[in-house]
């Protein structure tokens, strides 16, 4: 025992080096996000900028759904529900906190926020801090709901999760429609007790007036964090457990893997990131956040990204998020056929290429790159 422990300790890398190595991807993501916001955003039109935002948000959604549908082989169909919950939760935090603290819901952000006028602003201000906090609140609320939804349904084998999550999205939609109108003035907000504020999110009229903090910086920072989290999950102990559950749940259980716990873990992490994506979505310029955001159509869009990208391939899901976001632009002449085409693509894909375009492998793990020096096939990937 002690010998083994000593051996293990001697193999552990020095903490400074491992910390630097662990943080390197995050630093790279941070740099990319700053570059996008400060050096690219001012030189492109609002429309491509909006597309870039959508791509980023869809990336976060698709990669997070991959953790459930791809890694563990469960099937969640209510991702938009979690996104809506996160969007509303973080919207409530920024809107009402701004009202209480600063008396107006205007964005009080710096250069890194979605403000067009960049002159004379500090990089980060109090508004950005509030926004970051609200994103975390949105993710946490969504993650907690993930526990409530996941625990009963993931104990069971099979397709119950699909039904429960589909029902969950609908319940979220119905409940949002029951809410009361948004409070428009600071006096009203001050006179309402704090615990009642979350019920004032506009009902079926939608939640408007949320400050616009979302910018390329925040979105691509979230993309980087999501990608890093997904890769670390997939390549670590959790990932082996997830993939084993997906391949054969009974065998995994026989090997001592607590299947329910791992499934719920994956589901909750996915719900958390969906909540973050929702927060980013709700703080985008010109979005009237409404109950429809929780509807089936958005969930189906994300599912299509995950399936096209390959169930379990993170890079595949991210690539598919880019393609599926841009596709409606190209399909505009045949807009009413878009969903018909998606549906047929889904069916044909399952029949002729059941693992999706990339399967569980990442894009660079494909044999097509084998001519490159230093290329290695994926560890443990099948075939």
């Amino acid at each position: 025992m002690s010998l083994l422990a000593e051996q293990a300790r001697s193999m552990r890398p020095a903490w400074g080096g491992s910390l630097a190595r662990g943080l390197a991807p995050l630093a790279a993501g941070l740099v990319l996000a700053v570059v996008l916001q400060v050096f690219i955003r001012p030189y492109i039109d609002p429309y491509p900028a909006k597309l870039l935002l959508d791509i980023g948000i869809n990336c976060v959604l698709a990669v997070s759904l991959t953790m459930v549908n791809g890694f563990t082989g469960q099937f969640s169909m209510g991702h938009a529900g979690f996104m809506a919950v996160g969007g509303y939760a973080s919207g409530i935090v920024t809107y009402y906190a701004s009202m209480r603290l600063w008396g107006s819901p205007e964005a009080a952000g710096g250069v890194l926020s979605g403000i067009l006028d960049l002159q004379g602003l500090p990089l980060v201000t109090k508004g950005d801090v509030l926004f970051l906090f609200s994103l975390l609140v949105g993710g946490t609320v969504s993650g907690l709901l993930g526990v409530a939804v996941g625990l009963p349904s993931l104990r069971l084998r099979g397709d119950y999760l699909a039904i429960v999550t589909l029902g969950f999205g609908e319940i979220v939609r119905v409940l949002i429609q029951q809410t009361r109108p948004v409070l428009g003035t600071a006096e009203e907000v001050r006179s309402t007790p704090t615990w009642q504020l979350p019920s004032h999110v506009g009902g079926s009229l939608g939640f408007s007036g949320i400050p616009t903090y979302t910018s390329l910086f925040w979105v691509y920072l979230a993309v980087a964090v999501t990608l890093i989290a997904a890769f670390r999950l997939k390549t670590g102990t959790f990932g082996r457990a997830f993939l084993s559950i997906r391949e054969d749940e009974i065998a995994a259980e026989a090997m001592g893997i607590k299947t329910t716990r791992y499934k719920v873990t994956a589901f909750v992490i996915a719900a958390f990131f969906a909540g973050i994506a929702g927060g980013l979505f709700s703080h985008t310029l010109g979005i009237g956040l409404s109950a429809e955001a929780a509807g089936f159509l958005k969930s189906f869009d994300v599912i299509i990204m995950v399936v096209l990208g390959g169930l379990g391939s993170i890079s595949g899901a991210a690539a598919a998020a880019v393609v599926v976001t841009l596709l409606p632009e190209w399909l505009r002449p045949v807009a009413e056929y878009r969903m018909v085409i998606y549906a047929l693509a889904l069916i044909l894909m399952m029949i002729f290429r059941p693992k999706g375009l990339f399967g569980v492998r990442e894009i660079w793990e494909r044999a097509a790159w084998s001519w490159l020096p230093g290329w290695r096939p994926a560890k443990g990937a099948r075939r």
Binding site: G73, I163, L166, E170, F296, Y342, L346, M350, P354
Partner: protein, 308 residues
């Protein structure tokens, strides 16, 4: 008292429709062990094909007055159409995936569902607007208790649903085909070795489920007269509730689906009448969560241990 009777009548009327639709889910699940997501879209197809056929027949026949058998003619046409569609869905989309992982079959089912919804939305098929079905039966009050009227339409709906369920029960438990279905559901391999034509039995099950779905859609259109566009979320909710009914009754269990359908009807209608009508969907899904927590095999189902 009047409110109670009225709610009871409503819950029986809607519950029998849920039960009809739930039967299709439960039969397919019993045999192939997957949720046929496209089932609710076959219901929609049943409603829309009745509508289209009724309109067409009415404009071409030139009757002074609608004959009494016209409704059943429309129903038979819808049944034939949906039965064919159900057969084709199984043959083209699900059969190539026999033996594939469950996730793939599930995704295909979702794909088929999306396809039916969005193809139906196309302008030259059903379009994106709700339409009304012409009156097939002249409605009148049959029986009045207090201030509650039992209408002819409600009676027709309930009697048709119950008659079909009794017929299905007879078919599953008393005929050779029913025995084959139960055998395939028990073990497809063994049934195949015993000489049961497994593929034909599965096709038959799909056709049967689709015929019941067509009836469900027809009765739905008859009851509400306005038929919503195929991709309307209301339809998805109907399908989901019917599926919840199948789970509550014990999925794979034919009698359980009937019981579950009526239970969902009662829960939904009494909840709407006595608590809050805007939350009626929430009650149904809360029931699903409760059942999954405490008795995942449903009321009439028995827990089957997972075999390797």
């Amino acid at each position: 008292m009047d409110q109670f009777l009225q709610t009871l009548k409503d819950s029986m009327a809607i519950g029998s429709l849920y039960a009809l639709i739930a039967l299709g889910y439960t039969m397919v699940y019993g045999i192939l062990k997957f949720i046929n997501f496209a089932h609710s879209d076959v219901v929609v197809l049943g409603a829309w094909s009745s509508l289209v056929f009724a309109n067409w027949a009415k404009t071409h026949a030139g009757w002074e007055q609608t004959p009494w058998w016209f409704g059943s003619l429309v129903l038979v046409a819808a049944m034939a159409f949906c039965g064919t569609v159900g057969f084709l869905i199984e043959r083209l989309a699900y059969r190539p995936l026999r033996g594939a992982p469950r996730l793939n079959v599930l995704i295909t089912a979702i794909g088929v569902s999306l396809f039916l919804q969005n193809a139906g939305q196309l302008e030259f098929i059903f379009g994106t607007r709700p339409r009304s079905i012409p009156a097939l039966v002249v409605d009148r009050s049959l029986l009045t208790v207090g201030r509650v009227h039992l209408n002819l339409l409600d009676a027709i709906g309930f009697v048709t649903a119950v008659a079909l369920m009794v017929g299905l029960d007879w078919l599953v438990f008393r005929t050779k085909m029913g025995r084959a279905m139960r055998a395939v559901s028990f073990s497809p391999q063994t049934a195949g070795l015993m000489g049961v034509p497994v593929d034909r039995v599965i096709s038959f099950t799909f056709v049967l489920g689709s015929v019941l779905a067509a009836t469900g859609g027809f009765l739905w259109a008859l009851k509400y007269t306005q038929v919503n566009q195929p991709a309307d979320t209301g339809w998805t909710l109907v399908g989901l509730k019917a599926f919840v009914a199948a789970v509550v009754g014990g999925i794979g269990n034919v009698r359980g689906a009937m019981l579950g359908g009526l239970a969902i009807g009662v829960l939904e209608q009494f909840g709407s009448a006595y608590l809050s009508s805007s939350l009626s969907d929430v009650y149904v899904f809360s029931l699903l969560i409760v059942v999954l927590l405490f008795r995942p095999s449903g009321i009439l189902g028995q827990a089957v241990p997972e075999k390797v």
